[in-house]
Symmetry: C2
Subunit: 171 residues, 2 copies
Amino acid sequence: MRAPAFTKRVPAGDNREREVCDHCGFVDYVNPRIVVGVVCTWEDQYLLCRRAIEPRRGFWTFPAGFLEQGESPEEGAAREAAEEAGADVIVGALIGIYSIPRIGQVQMMFEGQLRSPDVVAGEESLEVRLLPWSGIPWDDLAFLSVSAALRHHHQIRGRPEFPAFRVTLGG
Amino acid sequence: MRAPAFTKRVPAGDNREREVCDHCGFVDYVNPRIVVGVVCTWEDQYLLCRRAIEPRRGFWTFPAGFLEQGESPEEGAAREAAEEAGADVIVGALIGIYSIPRIGQVQMMFEGQLRSPDVVAGEESLEVRLLPWSGIPWDDLAFLSVSAALRHHHQIRGRPEFPAFRVTLGG
């Protein structure tokens, strides 16, 4: 096998440069990716996971990750809660959409109700905890979108209907 | 150049099969793609475009297309309106999120106010029109998500705040 050798070119029928492999002509269409996450609560407590993987290993987040093929956003959010925290969650309303154009991500964060407080660290978590609002480690959260979605969740909690927040993050 | 030769394998550190090129080891991570669209209105009229490209050439839609790297969803929706209909639009509230897991798409459709009624067919449109609600060609719309978002827009029109609709389409 030879290593891939990509060159920027405009493919036929397109109007912008893409990475095209010099060996095989494969066009690597790179589109923004979707991250889905869920702010899981049990009574007044929030489920947080300490990341076992980079980026931001050792920092805290609620369950979130890349949406996979064949999933709806709600299904992906529930899968991440199961994988990262062994959590069984009912995914609810959309809290907000956090777009980060610089890194090509659109993050969709949902409310979620845990069906039980039994949670356990998955492979991508060092530990998981149920914490009251006053116990959230704001200085040790992994990403800006995590703190934004937690604060938004706190604002809308208990409201039967609300418009999703829309935030563009980064420079 | 040799044609790419992809085989399904589980890359190191991953937990599901991906397409890996036998020639160069390139891993083609395929994630769902984001479509952004905007229901553009001018007074009581809706901007519709007749598609000049497949799929569904000859059928009607509002401006929509794949989000590109470096764009927020709102910027992508405004770009599509400019490209497909020469339209200058102020992108407003999120009408709804229409996910189609079978084809790996999450579609985000926005409200939009045209700054002027001057519109013109772009390269991907056969023609563009401003039509009253009663003139929308329901039987000749291009996609289910187009008719869904138009109906949802009609339901929420004039409301200052509303929760985004969330619909999963397809089997």
